[in-house]
Amino acid sequence: MTSQVSSPAEQADGAGGAIGEQRSAPQHDGAGKEIRRVDRVIIRFAGDSGDGMQLTGDRFTSETASFGNDLSTLPNFPAEIRAPAGTLPGVSSFQLHFADHDILTPGDAPNVLVAMNPAALKANIADVPRGAEIIINTDEFTKRPMAKVGYETSPLEDGSLDAYSIHQVPLTTLTVEALKDFGLTRKEAERSKNMFALGLLSWMYHRPTEGTESFLRQKFAKKPEIAEANVAAFRAGWNFGETTEDFAVSYEVAPATKAFPTGTYRNISGNLALSYGLITAARQADLPLYLGSYPITPASDILHELSKHKNFGVRTFQAEDEIAGIGAALGAAFGGALGVTTTSGPGVALKSETIGLAVSLELPLLIVDIQRGGPSTGLPTKTEQADLLQAMYGRNGEAPVPVVAPRTPADCFDAALDAARIALTYRTPVFLLSDGYLANGSEPWRIPDVADLPDLSVQFATGPNHELADGTEVFWPYKRDPQTLARPWAVPGTPGLEHRIGGIEKQDGTGNISYDPANHDHMVRTRQAKIDGIQVPDLEVDDPDGARTLVLGWGSTYGPITAAVRRLRATGSPVAQAHLRHLNPFPGNLGEVLKRYDKVVVPEMNLGQLATLIRAKYLVDAQSYNQVNGMPFKAEQLATVLKEAIND
């Protein structure tokens, strides 16, 4: 069977070598079945929105993480909670890439597709390379479900799947059969078929099972019979793999011991890492965390997560709308909290005026934008990075706001700390631009030692900071720190520092209302200078071969770009790579870096927003490569584009 070894054209990443490369000669298990050791595997679970594919994927991911593989995931689901059953729009899938070495993406194409129904097969087959394995729930391949998605003849019989290695498994029937002693209705029993599939795949890839069993018992603690039924279905799936002739081979992917520095790891999604980053930032700053938010996909999970941690003193306020969400966060910031609002693009549009107020008030505030497809409602559950210019410029007047972007799910933790550092040090609102891919995707994360976390402590104003000509000591709310240009943060409750601030232009120093033309000019330039002067590290360039082409990215494209770069280098095409965390201000050396290369290619999941910024600022003829289909780039596609640019 060649299904686990695909052609180089389907390579996702890894340092060269074909995907699924065999690590050693085949062995055999106790039952005499062959065990192959491979370097990496891409699995996609696909089914109806109600089939529990996300849960199945999450569990397989947890098993894989605890086994010690490197991994990367791509959940993909419709915006509808329950689209009509069995239809193409209702298909939900979860792709997982795991390896015995360091990987960067959820993989371009699956080696194994689990198709729970005809719609899942039809919606995903185009992504599956020939030779790959497809596990099909034959129970669902009856006339009506097939007709519903336009199969006139059964793909199981008409030869259209001949190029694949097909496992026909009556998943539903087997599950119901396995649970016949549980006293469940047929419908209840059928719902465990995803656990049967998980058990089967867990056998196929030698995953540990204890985690899933204890997870199920915990999840259904209040309904022990359902918990046990799911455990039984899970075990039945495992046993089915072990005993049936159809599955002659299982695979081992060894732990990725060399890929990881020493440490303790866990699997983490972007939204969870970002939530932990916010809690950590508040603790390191010794400030209470206050989240003002309004539910919006794909940001709501941060609201849910932070709401669980009230014992950290975290206040979460689900506001009446996006505007009130940021308003409350800003009010809390005025009172001395670390104020945060979380949203996605449409919410940012509504918050714009308040962000402008925060610029004018010069108070610390974090605006977390989990970008999704736009414009307007767009594609709520799909990813995009098209809010960069909105974050940069989407306000009236000259209202500069720093912009920070994480590059991987786990990096959302560090990016949140960095955004908080900037907000607190410079007394400014800061954009944290994540996206749907980072938010829902996951990867292993080296758990930081709390003692090593950065100190973000702030100093509130405590007394007068200015002496008038007559010797009177006064407090000036807009007298700046000469280094950072930050103004003092004087919180209510501090005697003697009573002051009024507002959105009207303020006199330099005193903060009193001022309509003076020269003062306004000075204040506009000062606010800009403060943001321009924010300390950010220089851009690091990875260029081992002295390349002439630079690929520059930002945000979640890091994984696919890096995978493409590795692939090109492995085939002897030198390319330099740099990835921006700070979009405003840019690193001080960016202009010099750009000028070093003959060619600069900027892949983005928008129509060229970063390219527009760097062309304007540095007069560099950067070439855009753009994709806005709601999905992350594929490494192969980027490698092809970069190769053309190099050879051009």
């Binding site: 010690g68 790891y265 932990y276 809390a332 009172g335 909290a337 008030l361 003697g496 009024r500």
Partner: protein, 355 residues
């Protein structure tokens, strides 16, 4: 819920002033820039005059406003203050009040700010019962933008933007607040300092959101809007003074009263007679149901303003959002202990890589 017994202690969370205060202590060094003759001056003076009575530490008092003439108010108060953006003051103040229970937070807003652009925030603050005191200056006109009709302007109002008369029915702010589950709703008039101060006193004492509608004259764009309530000859007939526990009577010699029509259940103003005197409604601001308060808010004739009740319509105690939020934080610590960051970050599913 322990809120009701807690309630009187809410103000005690705010530190007291160390020394006796005077009105002067609450005047900021900024020049007041309202039009000469504006009703806002009277309200400012009343508030500055009332603040020393509260005896709170000045640094623990915050005034938050939106946009409009009245929203310049914080600049003139020698407390902490924020002049924010149009309509959003209740949202901003909510964040401040819910994160800092040691502060006395006041919102100053107008009829356009609170009821038009900021309507959503106002009703949600009221329903949540956040510990805010909201002073809604109602002059029934847009002043700062120079005279367009507002959401409280009478139907058919001729203004620059409505040369043939406005087409939309006005809001009655007291009715709106009662419908939005407000726990404290009052109305007063800029020119009646004594009444205004008494209403402020009760509002300040109230745990939770207090909405005070202040009829305020804009002498430039809507002069005389409330003359019916101020004119010596008319006022006795027009104004119904609500006092908790007192029969609702008005008119010269208190010859008129409010009774409930037994057939419709609605309220109506009648001449008091020997037969109906026993049926004169006794005002109960603490009634659990807002029904009668709402009926009172509908008594006034929207055009002539005759039969306009002023005073506290409703003053009931119910759980305060800030308190509930703080209680949840405490409960979480009680149940799970103070959060430990290392434990949180590690989670339950980990593996170790050794070098």
């Amino acid at each position: 819920m322990t809120e009701v017994t807690d309630a009187p202690t809410l103000l005690s969370l705010v530190p007291k002033a160390e020394a006796k205060q005077s009105m002067k202590d609450f005047k900021s060094d900024q020049e007041v820039r309202w039009c000469p003759g504006c009703g806002d001056y009277a309200v400012l003076a009343a508030v500055q005059g009332f603040m020393p009575e509260l005896g709170l530490a000045r640094e623990n008092i915050v005034f938050v406003s939106g946009i409009g003439c009245s929203s310049r108010f914080p600049y003139y108060m020698n407390t902490y203050g924020m002049h924010s953006i149009h309509g959003r003051a209740p949202a901003i103040a909510t964040g401040l009040a819910t994160s800092r229970r040691d502060l006395s937070v006041w919102v100053v807003t107008g009829d356009g700010d609170a009821l038009s652009i900021g309507g959503n925030h106002l009703i949600h603050a009221l329903r949540r019962n956040v510990n805010l005191k909201i002073l809604l200056f109602n002059n029934r006109i847009y002043g700062l933008t120079k005279g367009q009709y507002s959401p409280t302007s009478e139907l058919g109002k001729i203004t620059k933007s409505t040369p043939m008369g406005s087409l939309d029915a006005p809001f009655n702010p007291v009715s709106l607040a009662l419908g939005a589950e407000a726990s404290f709703v009052a109305r007063t008039v800029d020119s009646d300092r004594k009444h205004l101060t008494e209403v402020l006193r009760q509002a300040a004492d109230h745990p939770g959101t207090a909405l005070v509608e202040i009829y305020q004259n804009c002498n430039i764009f809507n002069d005389g809007a409330f003359d019916a309530l101020k004119d010596k000859d008319q006022a006795e007939e027009a104004v119904i003074r609500l006092e908790h526990g007192q029969p609702i009577r008005f008119g010269a010699g208190l010859t008129k009263g409010v009774i409930r029509n037994e057939r419709t259940g609605d309220l109506e103003a009648v001449e008091v007679t020997a037969e109906n005197e026993a049926r004169i409604l006794v005002h109960d601001a603490h009634a659990a149901s807002p029904t009668t308060a709402f009926a009172l808010s509908r008594l006034a004739d929207p055009h002539t303003l005759h039969r306009t009740p002023i005073g506290v319509f409703r003053d009931v105690q119910r759980p305060v959002y800030d308190t509930l939020m703080a209680d949840q934080l405490e409960t979480a610590v009680d149940q799970r202990g103070k959060g430990d960051l290392g434990t949180l970050l590690a989670g339950s599913d980990t593996w170790t890589v050794v070098g």
